[in-house]
């Protein structure tokens, strides 16, 4: 394999991984922008999306299964918010973050009991386990293109929603200035529920589209959440496109690291770069400093 093709292959493998991280990062980003909460159960939403879709796919065609899974997980997201966050006496952000960590553990165990420990996956959306598309000598699975396409569409839809619809603007208002939002009659709690539900739905779609690549199993949430969180931070919290770029960057960095160093160091490389970026630009590569309208789009 000549070095040009080789470099391209590494790049494509990096994009594959990066797109998976991006899928999780978008959801992280939305809840943070809307409510200031870092949702460490985001990985579990991704996992649930895949699991529910796999179960449904036994009975209905794939697109219906995916839609059904997204609706179910969105509902779960809303219910979790209502059950755990509304009752809080002090809506301290720190409390809510810790609660999401607890939720992540509970959801994992619940998934284990509902579905058992086996690994499962959705069928490839197009092609099968061995099909691959060739670009100039390098190969990539068609499913990766599905992931990238889905991520792109989601970012676009999210942008349109937040900019041009009433609910979207209400969410932005809450994040920008909660007291003012309340004064003009926006129900903060409802907006938080909505953003959890949306974020869960985003995670679920992500879980479905990455399922053929990564396999779906009850434990997949935590490692995904860690990488997704890192991606969101690297990109800069507050901007969905930045989350995607952050994810792709981490994926490509890991692939680059594998090309030069033993593969065991790929995580080290990615996190070292993350730390360096944070030292130099604490708000991430594409985010704007806190205080400015970080959450304005």
């Amino acid at each position: 394999m000549d070095s040009g093709t080789l470099a391209l292959q590494y790049l494509l493998s990096g994009v594959t991984k990066g797109s998976i991280y991006a899928v999780v990062a978008i959801g992280f980003n939305l809840i943070y922008s809307a409510t200031g909460v870092l949702n460490f159960a985001q990985g579990e939403f991704v996992m649930l999306g895949g699991m529910v879709a796999v179960t449904l796919a036994h009975f209905v065609p794939l697109p219906v299964a995916v839609t059904g899974a997204v609706m179910v997980v969105a509902l779960v997201g809303c219910l979790l918010e209502i059950a755990f966050f509304r009752r809080l006496r002090h809506h301290s952000i720190l409390h809510m973050i810790v609660i999401t960590i607890g939720l992540s553990i509970v959801i994992q165990e619940a998934a284990l009991h509902i579905w058992d420990e086996k690994v499962r996956s959705l069928p490839y959306f197009s092609g099968n386990e061995i099909s691959s598309i060739r670009f100039l000598g390098a190969a990539v699975s068609p499913q990766v293109l599905w992931v990238l396409g889905t991520v792109g569409v989601l970012v676009l839809l999210l942008h349109l929603f937040l900019r041009y619809t009433l609910q979207g603007r209400a969410i932005r208002a809450c994040s920008s200035n909660p007291e003012a939002a309340m004064l003009v009659g926006i129900n903060i709690s409802n907006m938080r529920t909505l953003s959890f539900g949306l974020s869960a739905a985003l995670g679920a779609i992500g879980g479905c589209v990455i399922s053929p690549i990564t396999m779906t199993h009850y434990e997949m949430g935590t490692p995904l959440a860690i990488k997704g969180f890192a991606a969101a931070i690297l990109g800069g919290l507050g901007n969905p496109m930045a989350a995607v770029l952050g994810g792709l960057t981490i994926g490509i960095l890991e692939a680059f690291s594998v090309s030069k160093l033993p593969a065991a160091y790929s995580d080290v490389t990615a996190f070292t770069v993350l730390l360096l970026v944070l030292f130099l630009r604490p708000h991430g590569l594409f985010g704007s400093p806190v205080g400015e309208s970080v959450r304005e789009y």
């Binding site: 394999m1 080789l6 292959q9 590494y10 494509l12 493998s13 990096g14 594959t16 991984k17 998976i20 284990l112 058992d116 420990e117 086996k118 690994v119 499962r120 996956s121 099968n128 386990e129 061995i130 099909s131 691959s132 190969a139 990539v140 699975s141 990455i210 690549i213 990564t214 396999m215 199993h217 434990e219 997949m220 935590t222 490692p223 995904l224 890991e254 692939a255 594998v258 090309s259 033993p262 593969a263 065991a264 790929s266 995580d267």
Partner: protein
């Protein structure tokens, strides 16, 4: 005087049945520590199901020495700390005759010393060589040795003329153990390891590592030592990146048809060493293991509606070895049962035919393994 004597005899006669009942219906307690939930549940879940199924079957057939077996099951979740505390419980409180399990080598090593000191029979379902090397009087194990699996892999490579390979392994205990053994045994087998990479066991995609494999000139085969889901991901990525003609060898951890289904078409042609359980239909009736394997497969699959796996088989072997020890010793005295187990010869289990001795507490030889492959989505014996 006479009257009291008669009354005394009558009382004894009346009370006698009570005593007789108690001793013959007192169950034989056998402890079991399995990782039913948690990261090793693919081992512990089928093991637990197998143990329960067997105990019910034995008890329905009248038990052992006329007594029922009481299985005291503990779920360690693959945590060595829990395994230690359960072992202590089983030894001190429940005072079981023997313990079967644990499912993983890490847990077994933590309780090996404990059982030896307390003179508790331990028949482990974990594979690491250190469990029986150095030999501890009371500790046995039922799976084949990792080194035997690797010997088979290298033998097949020699037949195929493969001299240069890539070794991929996951960063957990199983992967590390396999990697070390592969590195040690490759040189003497005349095989050169060109690429040697470790990946995170929760890795979602391995295209980058396989790019490295593809870029290394002359790799003739890839050996992957991990458990799911990485087993399936490697298989798929290899085909996607264009390494279809390079044979993929998996570890004996590939022993469940579910893994073939998950990798779909990409699993075709995978080579891995395993016991005969997975291809029992291809065994001639004259093979010593045929009856045991066929019965186990039928019972398990009809009861639990899932494919049988070699892991559940280890629990079958462990429990049946204890039962055989009790039968041979004709008693439930722990010393006698231990001696009986240590002298078991030609015992047909699922992993192979066991021959124990004071020096060999594993009991299986190289022909407990066979090289299998995947053809048309099914396991079959690999023929050159």
């Amino acid at each position: 005087m006479r009257k009291w004597f008669v009354v005394g005899i009558a009382v004894c006669l009346l009370a006698a049945p009570l005593f007789a009942q108690k001793t013959s219906s007192k169950p034989i307690k056998v402890g079991a520590i399995f990782a039913v939930t948690g990261p090793a549940s693919f081992l512990g879940a089928p093991e637990e199901k197998t143990a329960r199924m067997l105990v019910d079957k034995i008890n329905a057939d009248g038990g052992v020495l006329g007594r029922k077996i009481e299985l005291i099951l503990k779920d360690s979740g693959a945590s060595p700390e829990k395994a230690v505390s359960f072992a202590k419980q089983l030894i001190d409180e429940d005072k079981v005759l023997a313990i079967i399990g644990p499912s993983t080598s890490g847990e077994t090593m933590q309780i090996k010393q404990l059982c030896e000191e307390n003179e508790m029979i331990l028949v482990s379902c974990a594979a690491a060589e250190v469990i029986v090397n150095p030999v501890a009087k009371y500790v046995f194990k039922t799976p084949q040795k990792d080194s035997q699996a690797i010997t088979w892999i290298f033998r097949t490579m020699e037949d195929l003329g493969i001299k240069k390979i890539a070794v991929l392994s996951s960063n957990d205990g199983f992967g590390n153990a396999g990697k070390k053994l592969l590195e040690e045994m490759a040189g003497p087998a005349g095989i050169e390891v060109l690429v040697d990479e470790v990946y995170d066991k929760g890795a979602t995609d391995l295209m980058d590592i396989l790019t490295k494999v593809k870029s290394a000139e002359g790799v003739q085969a890839v050996v992957n030592w991990s458990i799911v889901p990485a087993q399936s991901i490697v298989a798929k990525n290899m085909k996607q990146i264009g390494l279809e003609d390079v044979p993929l060898f998996q570890s004996h951890g590939f022993g469940n048809l579910k893994y073939v289904e998950q990798a779909g078409v990409a699993a075709e042609g995978t080579l891995f060493p395993a016991g005969w359980l997975l291809v029992v239909d291809e065994l001639p009736d004259s093979h010593p293991q045929k009856k045991v394997l066929a019965t186990y497969k039928k019972d398990y699959e009809s009861l639990y509606k899932e494919d049988v796996s070699t892991f559940g088989g280890h629990a079958y072997d462990a429990l049946m070895l204890v039962v055989e020890g009790i039968k041979k010793a004709g008693s439930t005295d722990r010393e006698k049962v231990r001696d009986a187990i240590e002298n078991i010869k030609e015992f047909v289990g699922t992993a192979g035919v066991f021959n124990f001795s004071p020096e060999d507490h594993t009991g299986l030889s190289l022909d407990a393994f066979e090289m299998l492959t995947v053809k048309d989505g099914k396991f079959t014996v690999y023929k050159k």
